[in-house]
């Protein structure tokens, strides 16, 4: 009898011991819950090619649990499975460009639908969506249908901080231009590279050798080329006054035409139209290394007294500037190509870095209106430095709101 009780007790113990972990496991994996608050809407801040689907994250979300998105072009179907989303992925917080940086975004799933059955979404009729959740054995559907139609948006709200900064900065520049109109004496810091241009032209005149001027490798739609042609105008005017020669080998035919016009006008303004030689502004090629070889040849054969490299450059920068340095020419470079700056710094006597290239035309012209814009630019820089300091301090003490304020998407 005792043996019987002992056996029964042992079996009960084994059952309890086996059941306990199962109960614990059952507690770890909550039963599958139906999806909640499933909504479809036009994706904000986009070009009108997608629909966003959102639904609340659930306690039953875990590895192995998937959400299934079905779509149809009619509310009556036929419904076809389109996407299968792992329940631990795809949150609204993954797309701050659409939903901002709210903490609440981590509680919502998000899926951006761009096509149905590999066809683009219709922009004239709505697309219908159903949602279900499955763990491989059970599948529970959301009790309802969501529908939406994509629409192109006319303003990207995620870029509003950029717009505000551009407007503030533009007003700052315009304010200083209006100050300059009133003939206030604006102080502009000296840029040694630009101050040296006069000396360079004088040297070339004394030596009886030409000045070589390059515009970089970009076309006329580039800001650095526009800045470069503006500087060329100022340089050509000084060259005409000194009765020296300027040679402009061009990489782009349109840039060549613009340069011919700019130099011609400068000679006219200087009262020396007879001294202008159109042949001195000529096209070489629009192949990078062929251009470098040709310019090197010009430097070696004509031995210009001064070389001015203004504009955007690539790997040919050192090939040209080093040849110029070896030839003994005085060299001034100005570029907004950060990767080529070290090469110019090592080979040229003066280098204009980035914004100094853009400022050069205004600096050389000494026109109050242009100088006003430079002053505004300097204040803009001061404002950015202030923002950087404040942002660093605020972020360091644990408040990310300032960084979020200036975040771009």
């Amino acid at each position: 009898m005792n043996c019987h009780y002992a056996r029964s007790g042992l079996i009960t113990l084994i059952i309890v011991l086996l059941a306990f972990p199962l109960a614990v496991l059952a507690q770890d994996k909550p039963s599958l819950m139906p999806p909640q608050d499933f909504i479809a809407f036009d994706t904000p801040n986009d070009d009108g090619k997608s629909i966003s689907l959102i639904w609340k994250a659930s306690e039953s979300d875990r590895e192995g649990v998937y959400y299934i998105i079905y779509a149809a072009t009619s509310s009556k179907g036929p419904w076809k499975e389109q996407y299968r989303v792992l329940s631990t992925t795809r949150f609204k917080s993954d797309a701050p460009q659409y939903f901002g940086l709210s903490k609440d975004n981590e509680k919502w799933h998000f899926y951006e639908v761009t096509d149905i059955n590999e066809n683009p979404l219709s922009i004239t009729t709505p697309t219908y969506f159903k949602l279900a959740v499955t763990d491989g054995t059970n599948t529970i559907a959301f009790p309802g249908i969501a529908l939406s139609m994509p629409q192109g948006n006319w303003f990207d709200t995620s870029k509003i901080n950029v717009l505000v900064f551009v407007i503030v900065f533009s007003f700052l520049v315009m304010y200083f231009i209006s100050l300059a109109r009133k003939n206030l004496n604006l102080f502009i810091r000296h840029i040694p590279g630009l101050d040296a241009i006069e000396e360079t032209i004088g040297r070339a005149t004394e030596m009886g050798r030409p000045i070589l001027y390059l515009n970089g490798l970009l076309d006329m739609s580039s800001l650095s080329t526009i800045a470069s042609t503006s500087i060329l105008g100022k340089v050509a005017r000084k060259v005409a006054n000194y009765d020296s020669q300027i040679k402009v080998p061009c990489y782009d035919p349109i840039v060549m035409s613009v340069c011919q016009e700019v130099v011609k006008e400068s000679y006219l303004e200087a009262g020396r139209p007879d001294a202008f030689k159109e042949d001195n502004i000529f096209f070489i090629t629009n192949d990078q290394f062929a251009y470098a070889a040709a310019v090197d040849g010009i430097i070696v054969r004509h031995k210009p007294a001064a070389n001015l490299y203004m504009g955007y450059y690539y790997a040919e920068s050192l090939l040209i500037a080093e040849t110029g340095a070896v030839s003994g020419a005085m060299q001034i470079a100005g570029t907004d190509s950060i990767t080529q700056l070290p090469f110019f710094i090592t080979t040229c006597d003066y280098t204009l870095m980035g914004e100094e290239l853009y400022a050069a035309s205004a600096y050389l012209s000494r026109e109050p209106l242009q100088l006003g814009s430079l002053k505004g630019q300097d204040f803009g820089k001061g404002f950015i430095i202030l923002m950087l300091v404040v942002g660093t301090i605020v972020s360091t003490i644990g408040y990310p709101f300032f960084v979020n304020l200036v975040r771009t998407f």
Binding site: F282, L319, E355
Partner: protein, 234 residues
């Protein structure tokens, strides 16, 4: 005359400048279409500009030959190279034309290949690959010697700045070759720090200035304050 040389270009610059600024904030497809259209215009104008470029190139070299200027002999090769490439290109075009009108399939095994399918294996391609590209690669490879020469001149210790530059360069150079890591793991770590902290900070500083400068220059161009690119400053 001034209206065509100044007023109309300034109006075009103002209108297109404003449109292009706002295009950045408009995600709508029409804004994207506008940019595509703009790209097409640029390409069309670029196509016509080749004529300008060719005229300038030929005129320069013709003048050199005519006047017997130093190095005029090299100018002959401009005309020879141009003639050869145009001839090979036209022959190919002619062959393609004949194939189309005779209704025959284009023989891709012909020495000139086919424009439609591929230029690979054609004489045109051969010259491009084995003469033109090879010359370009030669120029590019010379860069290594130019870097050494420029570095030697720069690294001569003449000032505190040059000394700092030399030290930083030596650390980076040693760290970027296998022996750097073998000497000590501190060398690659220090090189990474130099690249990621002081170097990146300086780069970002230049970039910030550039961005502000470009906005300021764009405003000067849009509002017609900067008009040097039109020729003349006034």
């Amino acid at each position: 005359m001034n209206i065509f040389r100044r007023t109309i270009p300034l109006i075009i610059a103002f209108c297109l400048g404003i449109v292009m600024i706002f295009r950045y904030y408009v995600p709508h497809q029409s804004a994207e279409d506008l940019l595509t259209k703009y790209g097409e215009w640029v390409r069309i104008i670029g196509g016509f500009s080749i004529v300008l470029g060719l005229y300038s190139l030929f005129f320069t070299h013709y003048t050199k030959i005519k006047r017997g200027m130093p190095g005029w002999g090299y100018s002959i090769f401009v005309f020879i190279g141009f003639a050869v490439m145009v001839f090979l290109g036209l022959i190919k075009e002619f062959e393609t034309f004949l194939s189309i009108i005779s209704g025959k399939l284009i023989d891709v095994t012909s020495p000139f290949g086919s424009w439609e399918k591929s230029l690979t294996g054609t004489s045109y391609d051969w010259i491009y690959q084995y003469i033109f590209n090879a010359c370009g690669a030669t120029m590019f490879s010379i860069l290594a010697f130019y870097i050494a020469s420029a570095a030697y001149r720069t690294f001569r210790i003449r000032s505190v700045e040059a000394t700092i530059l030399l030290l930083a360069a030596v650390i980076i150079m040693i760290a970027r070759v296998p022996i750097g890591g073998l000497i000590s793991h501190w060398i690659p770590d220090l090189a990474d720090w130099i690249m990621e902290v002081p170097n990146l900070a300086a780069k970002r500083g230049v970039l910030l200035g550039m961005c502000l400068g470009s906005i300021s220059t764009a405003l000067r161009i849009i509002f017609g304050i900067e008009r040097g690119y039109l020729g003349g400053g006034e």
